[in-house]
Symmetry: C2
Subunit: 228 residues, 2 copies
């Protein structure tokens, strides 16, 4: 809670883009954040001064241990609020992300700790992202894009993109929620649709979406998802 909302958003985004592994290009970061490269460069400089990121010109930015800790804290607060908004308040799945996006910046460590306890230490947010006890991982090594499944192969949905309410409504409507089992039917050529089967029905989605939905092939380790 020592950093500005803006700084927290930068750290989150750098983390999401892989700033824990290698370095993230500032122009990619800029286009993801929807902020001009010049402004991003300026902010990166400030974050580097504060020891939250490491910046090497022409290489990109990566999170320092302190920056990673800060980002993980924000993710944790975000995901805990999502669970509360969904499970306790019954806010629709698709609306949960945008509300949590604001609450995450207004939450102290004590409140998020108590919130975790109140929610009975949930393991993941409603979109399938993990919630650790103290921190939480940014990436799950075992997760693969739905698009990578071979025809006939089955998997369980692990995570869905959460940053677009309309997309979430669409996914919800299709039944494509974390924990649901899907089977790949076919990936049509010439950038055609991806056909999958879930709950006995066949659905076709676009390739870009199929690339952003993450699945895992191993048997379920998920807890039941409470209804909204």
């Amino acid at each position: 809670m020592l950093h500005s909302e803006s700084a927290e958003d930068y750290l989150k985004t750098i983390c999401k883009m892989g700033g824990t592994q290698g370095a993230v290009s500032t122009s990619a970061l800029a286009s993801r954040l929807g902020i001009s490269p010049v402004s991003v460069h300026e902010m990166i400089r400030k974050l580097a001064e504060q020891g939250l990121v490491e910046y090497t010109p022409y290489r990109g930015v990566s999170l320092t241990p302190a920056g990673l800790r800060a980002a993980q804290n924000v993710f944790r607060r975000h995901r805990l609020w999502e669970r509360f908004l969904h499970d306790s308040l019954g806010l629709p799945w698709a609306r949960v992300h945008e509300e949590a996006e604001r609450l995450e910046h207004a939450t102290s460590q004590e409140v998020s700790d108590r919130l975790a306890q109140f929610l009975n230490y949930p393991q993941e947010c409603p979109h399938g992202y993990p919630i650790g006890q103290e921190t939480c991982a940014c990436e799950d090594e075992a997760a693969r894009p739905l698009l990578e499944l071979a025809a006939g192969e089955s998997a369980e949905i692990e995570r869905v993109p959460e940053d677009n309410a309309q997309m979430l409504e669409y996914l919800d409507h299709l039944g494509l929620r974390p924990g649901v089992r899907v089977t790949m039917i076919e990936i049509a050529p010439f950038d055609g649709p991806v056909t999958i089967e879930l709950a006995g029905e066949r659905k076709a989605i676009g390739r870009p979406l199929a690339e952003r939905i993450l699945v895992h092939i191993a048997a379920s380790h998920h807890t039941e998802h409470q209804g909204g």
Copy 2:
């Protein structure tokens, strides 16, 4: 949720200082907010442009109906969060206000409506301030300062000042919480202490505090306060 956090704070403070009845002096507002009179004047001008306050030079500011509605919304969100933080998360009474002060600015109408439902439409915040269904009153006509009680007179604590965590801890320690019955023993002369009896014990507090604690004489209409 259309106004900046800063604007919301101004509207709240104007409301608290009586900006629904008469006009509030801008210098009084400035000292209450801890902001320079020049800056307050500037902000008042902007709020007046937006139709949220009415400003007459050398007289002061008052809330327009739109401004009142906005302020009441913020109060409602604030007090609902206080109830949640206290009743559901068990956050100590004295810490609740400062946390709600941040959450109130990050809460949509839908979330506050659902929060009210989740909390079972509570009537008041943990410090005794009313929570209306749609809006909520700023002042309670029936409430009188504790200091106005005559010796031997009994009353129930209605509200306590909530803006100072240390003071709240002190009040909590003395047992001076909303809903508690107190009897005035004496008000010592020469600005001396105010002695009251509660739960069979006598306690002395200072005059300024006794002036800010509001009581009502009629029998209790309060619902039970859930423990934290």
